[in-house]
Amino acid sequence: MSETTVKEGKITEYMGKRVFEFMRWRKLAAALSIVAVVASIAALAINGLKFGLDFTGGTQVEVGYEVAPQIEDVRGQLVDAGYEGATVVRFGSDNELLIKLPPEVTEKQTQASARSEEATQSIGDKVVGLLRQGTDGDVDLRRVEMVGPQIGEELRDDGGLGMLFALVVVMGYVALRFQYKFSVGAVAALIHDVIIVLGFFALLKLDFDLTVLAAVLAVIGYSLNDTIVVADRIRENFRKVRKADSEEIINISLSQTLGRTLMTSLTTLLVLFALQFFGGELIHNFSLALVVGVLVGTYSSIYVSANILMALGITKEDMMPPVKEGAELEEMP
């Protein structure tokens, strides 16, 4: 009995475990990935990322009303008082509103507060004072966030740099631990995941703020985790399995790790859904980015990185540990 079961020239079982022909669909998967990435880039180009307060600068005031207000009334009230471009949305419940003021209004405020002592009154207090006049009940100030436009720009630059830096360091580590073909595969998978998550946010016009950036970086970590587990197994099998070509070895490896890949994705998704549904509005987009990222990351660890390994023509020789020159000589009589 041999280690593999072969039917019609294909390995269907290895070590008693069914082998799925993952790589049979690799061209289709590649097409799918390309379409998804292109669509994401298109969404990013057309809609652009809707940067949140952290990156654009501006002011957000979250208030709780005793009596549920009409959004239009509140907006009118704000615009009349000189807060042009104010947007008002419900936040969580009917009684809670989130008011956003554009960067220009915020800048006017900061400039003023730099000069006169009167203007040091917080923009949040001013807004709440104004809103109290327009309602019968009380208005409770729940949260104010004011970010100067310059800070926003810096955060944006730092975020972008951080993401690139993370990719480069990871590529270096993988190249060192495995082999450069793996690192190309791993990084391609990461870029694939990041672009799709960003594209998803651009497509649905969701706010992209600091917490979402953190989520995207966490996706890099997660997807990498997955990719490395798969890569580890591919390397092992290249050294171990005889009489199988690259495609078969990759299929065997993917089949072996499939259980673990699904299991980990499921447990992670489980906690992410807990965050999504019970974590409150503040980390809603954070958990959403992670959910999308984990789904895409799971797919990419199977179809993107392995696909690139195939495309780069990975061979057994790539995987053999480098032989010391002296070692061969010693064995000679």
């Binding site: 409770d140 729940r142 631990r177 997660y222 990498l224 447990t267 489980l270 906690v271 409150g280």
Partner: protein
């Protein structure tokens, strides 16, 4: 489910996959940990529980009373006065304690905090003591003695305000250069190097113009000698010859550093006026300062105090014959001096205010006695000179002004009541010294009793001055109700996520799942313990990091278990399969975790507030999960299966 029984056994496969050094015939002696390993794990887990425990004790709402200056006595008597005030107002309190710097009084409920603060402040008076809201730890003493303390809560969980202020460093460079212009003029005059003009260009370059080469050469050598820190270049031609002087990049950086440090000190003093327990005032980057005030709700008040400028005044002492309308009486700020001398009459006319003071440092004179060296800006120097050159031999006083804001109810014409913040300035003398000679930009105060006194005086003198203007570039306020909500949703999502994962693991891996679950629970305890020991701050994104850790921590176990199942399927006997499963999964787990850790560290390095909170819990979670998922689970499995004959694994 794959059990041992379903796996096909074939001896040649078993041989093929026999890991080196393992003996199949000796299954019953496998998977045993030496006793020290169990002890090590037990110790770590016990320590984890110990240091995580303080987080279980909910802190009591409290008020804290500290002195306005270091000379104020903090004693049992003060506590008694505060307790009396609370008793009279009918506010429930308990567990008063006298600490080194403050008195702490615990209250029955959070709602009592504000009224308690008010009645105590009223009864003690505003000038001597600061009353602040605080939370008193209820950690048992034996735990506290071990250095165990609960995690700090971030602003998003505790409520409070966060300001980011930018120091306008361009201004400090300009003011400094303006000062140089005056000094250069004076030195050139003294050296008889007649100039046509000396002026400042672009706020950072001094240009001195001369009619002849000879005068310019003289000026060059004078300036080189007197101002070695300036970089000089020659320019111009004919009868318009110039010397251009700039500060080196390094000097400018030093100036900026000084300005930021100075503003930091000033801000700390002002924040202390606010009476906030555990405020954070920190430098961020090259020219920014972060101020975090947990528990503060009234941003207007906070901003007023933080943003105000002058709070020092220099005035001449009044002559005995000065009219009462032209003089004012002030008390000494220092208690000993107040008891000895009471106060003094000063003129109403203010020579300069604190915003003209650029520096005040402790120094020592020739005989080693402490003194305070004061530097003013250019305009301040002129004013000081004008005021003192005719008044040598008289005394000059320095007033320290503390502003307090108290809520006051105002009734307008229509009878509507509004609460306004009423500002009162309390002015007290911190120094009264005889003018020995005409003073300029730099002068010193001598005749101080001790180095400590000099230190405090210098601090107070500096407290008045912002070296450079600042403005708010970021402001975040989180209401206390939102903070409480955030804690609640955070805890709930951790609970639900955790329960989900526990059930999942149990269904899929049975006995092994149980071991993984115990390891996961231990991991959470260790995570909390490490965060408490490091004094890390827990934020809402931090909780998200914990939730994610829960999901990802089981990954290591999933890797190991699926490997064990595989080995069983390959026909390995149970004990060997366990051992091989753990061994083979090890390097994969390490690789996967190291890369995630790299990402977490980068997140921490580039991120601010929310991102860092997430990165901290994620990194700590990765490290603790490596311990609990690899060593912890192995120990449990060994305990359960190890060292005996096993027919079948419940995996």
């Amino acid at each position: 489910m794959h059990f041992h029984g379903c796996a096909r056994i074939s001896s040649d496969i078993a041989k093929l996959y026999r890991p080196a050094g393992l003996n199949y015939n000796n299954e019953s002696s496998m998977n045993r940990y030496p006793i020290w390993k169990y002890l090590l794990i037990l110790t770590v887990v016990a320590l984890g529980f110990l240091y995580a425990a303080p987080n279980l004790y909910k802190p009591d709402p409290a008020v804290q009373i500290s002195g306005q200056s270091t000379t104020m006595e903090i004693d049992q008597q003060l506590l008694a006065r505060a307790e009396k005030a609370l008793d009279e107002a009918g506010i429930e309190h308990f567990g008063g304690e006298v600490g080194e710097k403050a008195v702490l009084l615990r209250l029955g409920s959070v709602e009592d905090q504000l009224p308690a603060k008010r009645v105590i402040q009223e009864s003690l008076g505003h000038s001597d003591y600061v009353v602040a809201l605080n939370l008193a730890s209820t950690t048992p003493e034996w735990l506290a003695d071990l250095g165990a303390s609960p995690m700090k809560l971030g602003l998003d969980l505790a409520g409070g305000v966060h300001f980011l202020m930018e120091v306008d460093t361009a201004t400090i460079v300009r003011t400094n250069m303006e000062g140089y212009v005056q000094d250069v003029k004076a030195k050139l005059r003294a050296a008889d190097a007649r100039y046509r003009s000396v002026s400042l260009e672009d706020d950072r370059e001094i240009v001195a113009r001369f009619r002849s080469e000879e005068l310019r050469d003289k000026a060059m050598s004078t300036m080189r000698k007197e101002f070695p820190e300036l970089q000089l270049t020659e320019a111009g031609s004919g009868d318009n010859l110039e010397v251009r002087a700039t500060l080196s990049e390094q000097e400018i950086k030093q100036l900026e550093d000084y300005a930021v440090t100075q503003n930091l000190t000033t801000l700390r003093n002002r924040v202390n006026e606010l009476g906030v327990a555990e405020p954070i005032v920190q430098r961020q980057g090259r020219n920014r300062i972060v101020v975090e005030l947990p528990g503060v709700q009234d941003t207007a008040e906070a901003k007023r105090i933080i943003g105000k400028t002058a709070n020092l005044e220099y005035r001449m002492e009044a002559r005995p014959d000065t009219l009462v309308t032209n003089k004012e009486y002030f008390e000494y700020r220092n208690e000993q001096q107040r008891q000895a001398y009471g106060g003094a009459w000063l003129e109403r006319k203010v020579i300069i205010k604190g915003d003209r003071v650029t520096n005040a440092r402790v120094g020592y004179d020739e005989s080693g006695l402490p003194q305070v060296n004061i530097t003013l800006d250019a305009r301040g120097g002129e004013l000081m000179h004008r005021a003192t050159w005719k008044n040598v031999g008289r005394r000059m006083g320095t007033l320290f002004i503390e502003s307090r804001f108290e809520p006051e109810t105002v009734v307008d014409d229509q009878g509507n009541e509004t609460v306004v913040q009423k500002r009162t300035d309390v002015k007290k003398i911190i120094s009264l010294a005889t003018v020995q000679s005409a003073l300029g930009r730099q002068f010193r105060i001598t005749g101080l009793d001790s180095a400590a006194e000099a230190q405090e005086l210098a601090l107070l003198l500096r407290a008045g001055a912002l070296a450079a203007p600042m403005y708010f570039v970021e402001e975040r306020v989180i209401g206390p109700s939102l903070g409480a909500d955030n804690i609640q949703v955070g805890v709930k999502s951790v609970q639900i996520g955790l329960i989900g994962v526990l059930i999942f693991m149990l269904i899929f891996y049975r006995v092994f799942g149980l071991a993984a679950n115990i390891a996961l629970a231990v991991n959470l305890v260790l995570l909390v313990a490490v965060m408490s020991i490091l004094g890390a701050t827990l934020t809402l994104p931090g909780i998200a990091g914990i939730v994610l850790t829960v999901g990802m921590a089981v990954d290591a176990n999933v890797l190991i278990f699926s490997r064990i199942r595989e080995e069983l399927r390959n026909g390995m006997p149970p004990q060997t399969a366990i051992s091989a499963g753990f061994d083979n999964a090890y390097s994969t787990i390490v690789d996967a975790n190291i890369t995630t850790l790299i990402v977490a560290v980068i997140l921490y390095a580039i991120g601010s507030g929310p991102v860092q909170g997430f990165a901290v819990t994620l990194s700590i979670g990765i490290l603790t999960s490596m311990f609990s998922a690899i060593m912890g689970t192995r120990a449990l499995i060994n305990l359960f299966y190890g060292g005996r004959r096993v027919q079948k694994l419940w995996i």
